[in-house]
């Protein structure tokens, strides 16, 4: 999976999870996935296991982050930073999500905002 897709799928998944105090530890998942790459065929399971252990209560988001194909440490670090920023932005928008028309509250408006940020931040992928 492309790192950019993994980051935003993880951010979307995080919206539907109860946020533990140390949710941000899931940002280590891309770095762990990259570190596991020399393990060859065991890289995927090892990265998944490490991601779950790092953030057990935020495991779906961490697993999605670990599923990205990272080409280097800079790539993985950028994915971690973008995921942290997007997750924090989406968390700050929670109050606004409650103000939208009742038909849109919940999953629709959250996924919509995530989709908009996917494109709005796309230039960062080329930095």
């Amino acid at each position: 999976m492309k790192p950019w897709d993994a980051v935003f799928l993880a951010a979307a998944a995080g919206l539907f999870l109860q946020r533990p105090r140390a949710w941000w530890l899931a940002a280590a998942a891309p770095l762990l996935a990259l570190a596991a790459q020399p393990l060859g065929t065991f890289a995927g399971p090892a990265a998944a296991l490490a991601a779950v252990l790092v953030a057990p209560r935020f495991a779906p988001a961490a697993l999605l982050l670990a599923a990205g194909h990272y080409t280097g440490w800079a790539d993985a670090a950028r994915a971690s930073a973008v995921w942290l920023a997007v997750s924090a932005l989406l968390a700050s928008m929670e109050e606004r999500f409650e103000e939208v028309s009742p038909r849109l509250r919940g999953a629709p408006i959250r996924l919509f905002a995530t989709g908009v940020l996917y494109y709005a931040l796309l230039p960062v992928a080329y930095l």
Binding site: S92, M93, I109, F112, V116, A120, P123, L127
Partner: protein, 288 residues
């Protein structure tokens, strides 16, 4: 809203003069579809100024030779997704015109986001902001007169500027917002170190504040998008931060990414930051 329509009129007229029948069809399609979609959502046929303003601003972000159906599709997205499904009337999270443009960039990047836009005369040439191997510098006078390939808003930057100044003069918008945006764009243009693409292919884009203000969507963004009261922060200080953030994002994308112009994406990013800006700028006693 009527004042905004009046302010947009010079830019719309200039776009039609430059783009001819294609531009006129594009604008007509956007305005009529936006009106129809608004009538559908509100279930009554009336003069919906806000939908027309959104459609006009969106259409001005399109290339001069954009087909009418693309304009119609974008206007439908702006009013339906931006105004109604994206939060509901008065609660939009994102600027509707910028949102429609971003959605179309995802759906039809070849039509909307080519570094080589067709000019009104049909000749394909690089945008003044392109950072390509064969890019050539555009003189500032040509930029101001719209003598270069680009969007309909770039057909007459002076007309957009006149419309914006009119809005400031009649106090329909807060003048500090475009001022901070243009100042941030200028400061970044003057002091940001040039990225590899600029240094290698388009060195005239470095340290050239006027070029960056007059080209791309900067004027339209500063006067007509960032001043949208629904998607901007509540406090004056918040709106200054919001405009500065949009300016910084616009210039970072121009300097360090292959994007020729990402002003509309900067607007969406700034919109997403509004709750965070409000949380830090609205006095606590006002919240309680």
């Amino acid at each position: 809203m009527a004042q905004v329509l009046i302010a947009l009129a010079p830019a719309l007229i200039a776009a039609v003069v430059r783009g001819g029948v294609t531009a006129a069809a594009s604008l007509a399609a956007a305005l009529s579809v936006a009106w129809g979609v608004q009538c559908f959502f509100l279930r009554r046929a009336a003069f919906h100024e806000s939908a027309l303003v959104t459609a006009a601003i969106f259409a001005l972000t399109l290339p001069a030779t954009a087909p009418w159906w693309l304009s119609a599709l974008g206007a439908a997205i702006a009013v339906s997704l931006g105004k109604h499904l994206g939060g509901g009337a008065g609660n939009s999270l994102f600027n509707s015109a910028a949102l429609a443009r971003a959605v179309l960039m995802g759906l039809a990047p070849g039509l909307l986001f080519a570094p080589r836009w067709p000019a009104a005369d049909g000749i394909t040439a690089a945008s003044p902001l392109a950072k390509e191997v064969d890019s050539v510098a555009t003189p500032l006078l040509d930029l101001l007169l719209g003598q270069h390939p680009g969007s309909l808003a770039e057909a007459a930057p002076l007309a957009v500027l006149a419309g914006g100044l009119f809005l400031v003069a009649v106090r329909a918008i807060e003048g500090r917002v475009p001022l901070v945006y243009f100042a941030t764009v200028s400061l970044f243009a003057l002091f940001l170190p040039a990225g590899d693409r600029i240094a290698g292919h388009a060195p005239w884009l470095a340290h050239n504040a006027l070029l960056h203000i007059a080209s791309g969507g900067v004027l339209l963004t500063g006067f007509f998008m960032l001043t949208d009261p629904v998607t901007a922060p509540f406090t004056p200080r918040g709106r200054m931060l919001f405009a500065a953030l949009a300016g910084a994002a616009t210039m970072l994308a121009r300097f360090y990414t292959p994007y020729p112009d990402a002003a509309v994406l900067a607007v969406l990013l700034a919109n997403a930051c509004v709750p965070a800006i409000d949380a830090r700028t609205i006095p606590r006693e006002a919240l309680s």
